[in-house]
């Protein structure tokens, strides 16, 4: 019983850890990291379904024995790129939220939203983040 399913239980554990991080953590960037862990767990599950014992990669070569199934690998190639696309959108939002609210912690966000409900629209950057790439332009609005 255990011999056949240990992989699936390990992967289910990874998925659940990711889900736990997404829901419990307050920091927006940490949530996205948890989301990545959750998605990777699912991808590994798909690929382990397509694996045959003693098989080899589905690249046809003479006498290369049984091949693992190519279909789950195609699906996961698509899913990985979808995951990164969602991560990029989430991170862009996190940067903009930091510039508008001054923080990326959920509880502080609620406090800031209650204290100053009506600053000027979403485009005003309250504070100037540091320049991570060693370049400085004339004093940004601080």
């Amino acid at each position: 019983m255990i011999a056949g399913l240990y992989v699936y239980w390990a992967l289910f554990a990874v998925m659940l850890i990711g889900l736990y991080v997404v829901i419990s953590h307050g920091n927006l960037v940490k949530k996205l990291l948890g989301l990545t862990v959750f998605q990777v767990g699912v991808f590994l599950f798909f690929i382990s379904v397509g694996k045959v014992a003693g098989g080899s990669a589905p690249i046809i070569a003479e006498g290369a024995g049984p091949y693992s199934h190519p279909l789950p690998q195609v699906l996961i190639l698509t899913a990985i790129v979808v995951g990164v696309a969602t991560l990029a959108v989430g991170l862009a939002l996190a940067v903009r939220i930091f510039e508008s609210y001054g923080t990326v912690e959920e509880d502080e966000l609620e406090r800031v939203a209650d204290e100053q409900p009506e600053p000027n629209g979403a485009f005003g950057a309250q504070c100037v983040p540091n320049a991570p790439f060693g370049s400085e332009r004339g004093g940004g609005r601080s």
Binding site: S56, A61, A64, G65, N130, A131, P132, F133, G134
Partner: protein
Amino acid sequence: MISAVMVALLVTMVLALLRAFLGPDRYNRILAINMFGTKTVLFVAVAGFLFGRPDFLDIGILYALVNFVATIAVLRLSHYEELVSGRSGGAGE
């Protein structure tokens, strides 16, 4: 013999992982992860030979490249933050 090397690599990876978890400050962790990356490159190469399909070594090249880019990125971005906050005395010692 190759499976012995595989076992050695796995043990080294676990040791590096322990240092990554224990590492008191950031630099110990970067070092452990960089070492883990190099061992993964070797793991892929040895796994290719062990399981009979040695012609998939492009992945090894990619691992080495990506490991190098990640290490430079970690140093470049985290290091820079210290420079800005001026804690390390700016331009030089």
